[in-house]
Symmetry: C2
Subunit: 337 residues, 2 copies
DNA sequence: AGCGCTGAAGACAGCGCTGTCATTCTAACC
DNA sequence: GGTTAGAATGACAGCGCTGTCTTCAGCGCT
């Protein structure tokens, strides 16, 4: 079957191509009977509008871009699945673009890419959404975008916000409730604003429950399993090691558990360990890891819906929804003996 | 800066738009001096050809699709990075399309998708590349495609082949060399041809080294961590448990190790465990897992290069390169005491 | 000098759609 | 019944490029 064009459909339905166009694009002002006649013709010919022609004429590509720079495969695929769900629903296609947020030419790269590939808009994810130069470049180039980012009062940018602060507070509260007072904290990569929020949440919980914060119990990690190992050694080799360690992500928490195993420390009997993100690894280590589950997929889907809505001209939508995360208590945390 | 069109460039360079088109598309028959004049104008105006116009006129979209149905985030992102590397080099864009290979309408879905999004060609990955109906539908619709798939003599389809058989043979040989004779094998999902090849490799190695194959030492897994656990219980609760277990993938091997830990079996002292794939988890469990590393990224990149080459009209390329995988010996396998 | 020939460049017609504006129809009102 | 606002439809010009065909200059040959 040769691919049908809009003319074929118009001919079969006995209307002008413009009317077919109206029906296909769900525009108003078409009589119900006409609409059905056209739809039948579309089905009969298995007509698919030509995306290129449509883009060229309409100056819209029905393509959105997903920009990311994140080494976690799970995070990336969760993002993609969420965005794809929204795209499919709205008949948009997705272009993915991993990039290096530290690259000096990142702004030109991003703007150039959007121009080149004719994206209608882009989705920005951490740490790109935390990189102010990129955000500014996008704004300046008037490229529609929506960020996924920690909650933030400043900036007018549209974003789907995470509640890292609150979740870290809740996790710390959980540890305190178990009787822990010496709670080590492994902070995350300094370029990720979400990581800073997690540290704040931890600190605020200590304050809220009158636990004496100790500077040396907070060590700087860099999100990787290996950095988790290094930080764990630093914390556990002290003369007075903490009774619990809260790592800013699961990979580092897994690193902590690896080191604990090697040092012969039982978990959770001798050490409670908590992570953040609820990646698959949380359930694949022993004991299963207490962590925080952030609905990445839902956030990505929401962000994509908002972006596409804006591209369609909507503006009255909620400009910064916060998607709540959830504590997942497993077996790596226990009451202080 | 308003976006420049080909007319602007032609005007500035003092040539016709067709000549600009020739230069931009690296076509022959343009004098060197003219070419340079045009290129200067392109740079001066920061000209980017309009992808939609180009597609419409040239009946090419410079878009390729990556089809997959795989729950492993690492696998998927490796694929993507490989394909993207080739795309970037060749100025193609990538559309990703996760799908459900068991869905009954999968063939129509795939063909429809390609038509809809105007993809020039697609990349097929396991288990889609193992699904004959999909392959047939693509061939019938005359959609150019390249598969990533286990080596296979039949079919004329262009593919980048894996050497699962050989790698599994090598791993089994490694275990035999360590003195193991009772080697349990956890096979993978039956719909993945690669998994069948791994089982064959195991069997052939037993035969080659005169180890008595035992039917009950081969149990059926389904690629997941949980199925690895179940299979491990089945193998380890026998009165004469194997001294080594070779799982068809790392997740299942991790499941085996989890069960062994729970049963108080030391690894590798009491049990050698081997996996396949070299996913990050292999290094994040204790002890680090002996496994097989298959260069997914390189395979994907090669496949994309071949596909793009074909789209460009090349045909004399190697039609079925085999990318060799590599044994990674870590600490989960040891000499039989 | 006249011939054909090749390489370099341009003219021109669309690709299949959408935006704009003109036109026709419908129905509700006086 | 005549008007008229508004809904429904159509005519038409291009969006920015590429494919095809044409033109023309320059060259070697007889």
């Amino acid at each position: 079957m040769p691919k049908a064009t809009i003319d074929d459909v118009a001919g079969l339905a006995g209307v002008s191509i413009k009317t077919v166009s109206r029906v296909v694009n769900a525009e108003p002002n078409v009589r119900q009977a006409t609409r059905e006649r056209v739809l039948n013709a579309v089905r009969a010919l298995n007509y698919r509008p030509n995306a290129s022609a449509r883009s060229l004429a309409g100056d819209r590509s029905y393509l959105i871009g997903l920009l990311y720079d994140n080494p976690s495969a799970n995070y990336v695929t969760d993002l993609q699945y969420g965005v794809l769900a929204a795209c499919r629903e709205q008949h948009y296609d997705l272009l993915i673009h991993p990039c290096n947020y530290k690259h000096s030419g990142i702004c030109e790269e991003v703007v150039g890419l959007v121009a080149q590939s004719k994206m209608d808009g882009v989705l920005l994810t951490p740490p790109l959404s935390d990189t102010e130069t990129v955000v500014a470049a996008l704004q300046q180039a008037r490229i529609p975008f929506v960020s996924i980012a920690p909650r933030q009062s400043d900036e007018g940018a549209v974003c789907v916000a995470t509640d890292d602060h609150q979740a870290a507070f809740a996790m710390t509260e959980h540890l305190i409730a178990l009787g822990h007072r010496e709670i080590g904290f492994i902070s995350g990569h300094p370029d990720h604003r979400a990581m800073a929020r997690r540290l704040e949440g931890y600190r605020e919980a200590l304050r809220a429950f009158d636990v004496q914060p100790q500077q040396h119990l907070v060590v700087q990690g860099y999100n990787s399993f290996e950095s988790g190992e290094a930080c764990a050694r630093q914390l556990l080799l002290r003369k007075e090691p903490p009774s619990a360690i809260f790592a800013s992500n699961d990979d580092m928490a897994a690193g902590v558990m690896m080191v604990a195993h090697q040092m012969g420390i039982a978990i959770p009997a001798g050490l409670s360990v908590a992570g953040f993100d609820d990646t698959p690894i949380a359930r694949q280590i022993w004991p299963p890891l207490t962590t925080v589950q952030q609905p990445i997929k839902a956030m990505a889907e929401t962000a994509a819906q908002i972006l596409i809505g804006r591209l369609r001209g909507q503006t009255e939508i909620d400009t910064a929804p916060v998607i709540p995360s959830q504590l997942v208590i497993r077996q790596s945390t226990a009451v202080l003996p």
